[in-house]
Symmetry: C2
DNA sequence: GTCAATATATAGAAGAGCGAGGTATAGGCT
DNA sequence: AGCCTATACCTCGCTCTTCTATATATTGAC
């Protein structure tokens, strides 16, 4: 069905993280996610660009057209102050949730095997 | 908004886990998730019951009406063999994904602070 | 007799993600 | 010149999950 099957809502967090490292354009974001996750996170363009527009509309990112190293025009996204705050909140929330899921998955399974 | 905002798609995994421990009815599933996660995972009924029907339709759960300890009728769900397989697959996939997200969130942030 | 907790259910809306298309440029090859 | 690949952007329409709100019925306590 899908490529990565990343839990819905997680993509925004990952995008914010990549942009937090340094301003990048959309195409490069997808490449970095792929590389750093060792091929696990592969974001199709039909998910990526709507997500970027969403984050921009929410005031978490700003975009500027600049030249890439290879001489092409591309939209470079940067984090706003609001974006950084949101990232920190989302990041903490993510940690809290996966810890909770860990608790549940770690439940004793009373003879399941 | 005190609700959980669990990443979409995760609910099925958690339900399968709770049911894997022992057959339980829907209402009890929500209570267990709440208790074991220490209040972090609070599933509203409008999410829970559709999810249960979905899992039943997919052949991962079976339901039987039985009496609870308190003497009421309730639908007790059990894992099918297919359900157990699916749980194991989903569980492994979850581990793979949070590891990938961990890699990304752990990226060097070149002077973010 | 009424209130809270238990227990199930559905309808409607919101929102995310994806597949499939489309545009355009740069560089290499033949 | 013509073609292909990689880069870089975009949007429409569909599916799926989840939430809000609402509805029903039973039990035990006050």
């Amino acid at each position: 069905m899908q490529k990565t099957d990343l839990p819905q809502g997680t993509l925004d967090l990952l995008i914010l993280k990549v942009v937090a490292v340094e301003p990048v354009h959309g195409y490069a974001i997808a490449q970095r996610l792929d590389q750093v996750s060792r091929g696990v996170v592969q974001v199709p363009e039909g998910s990526l660009y709507p997500a970027l527009h969403r984050l921009e509309n929410r005031g978490l990112l700003t975009a500027d057209w600049k030249q890439t190293e290879s001489g092409r025009e591309a939209k470079f996204y940067s984090l706003t102050r609001k974006g950084r705050k949101q990232f920190e909140a989302d990041s903490a929330n993510w940690a809290r949730l996966i810890q909770a899921v860990g608790l549940i998955l770690g439940m004793a399974d009373g003879g399941t095997r």
